[in-house]
Point group: C2
Chain length 159, copies 2
């Protein structure tokens, strides 16, 4: 479990959160799990930002030490590990969500993937809760069966 | 104005936001402006985290280049500059707010300064809007005349 005391910069909760999450590479790994349901080293490595192998190894280990992700052996492929967000990690969803909203607002070129948000008939709190439940159960926002977008489309059709 | 194109890691809005804001030192400067109304180099330097002079100089310059803060001469003390959030910078308030909420929830020792949140009879969207308006007009959450806490107390008394 994390023990930041010796390294903590202050008692400010914002500083504490930043010390726990680490840097932007760590946040991008958390993003990969939430938005595209990535679970393995190879999947994280393949993301567009081109994270280096050694940085990825370091950040996965750090996220695990900080209690934000867990690592378990792949059920059928013993060469692989599966990474999953803990409850503490799932609680970072609102932070990632607001980072996404800032980017989509201030750089139109990035907003294509976020266009779905504009069409969504759901308040922000409910959407974040739905994302959290879905990711907790192994799903994601965009990818995989029963993803958040599919769920929202079904809801709208049944209305 | 910012032009990240050559350095952008991907078209993901989350990655874009992280590339604009930079690292945690930059976020802590933005926090200082929002929560305690700091405006000068000396005030940022005095924060609990003990930022080094050269890092502070670099991050202030970076935040200005990225269009998140402006720098103007102090009206009476020509040796000083006054830093202020731009509209783009003010839009980071929800991100900072969620970082604060995560820290307060997961590290009770940091939550003292955040205890006010629990007592506040206001929904999150309205609170963030109130913070944004107050900071835009030169105020802050905790410090200075007409700070957010004072405003909320007045509201509750008049209810």
């Amino acid at each position: 479990m994390r023990n930041l005391k010796p390294n903590r910069r202050s008692n400010c909760p914002i500083s504490f959160s930043l010390d726990v999450i680490g840097d932007s590479w760590s946040l991008l790994i958390v993003r990969d799990i939430i938005f595209t349901g990535k679970k393995t080293f190879g999947e994280f490595l393949a993301s567009d930002e081109g994270i280096a192998r050694n940085i990825l190894t370091n950040r996965l280990s750090r996220l695990e030490t900080m209690g934000l992700i867990t690592k378990n052996p792949h059920p059928t492929d013993k060469r692989k590990d599966l990474y999953k967000l803990t409850e503490d990690g799932l609680d970072f969803i609102p932070v990632i969500f607001e980072l996404s909203a800032w980017g989509a607002k201030h750089e139109p070129e990035t907003s294509e993937a976020q266009a779905w948000l504009a069409d969504v008939q759901i308040d922000k709190e409910s959407l974040i809760q739905l994302i959290k439940e879905t990711v907790k159960n192994g799903g994601s926002v965009f990818a995989g069966p029963g993803n958040v977008i599919e769920q929202l489309k079904k809801r709208q059709q049944s209305q």
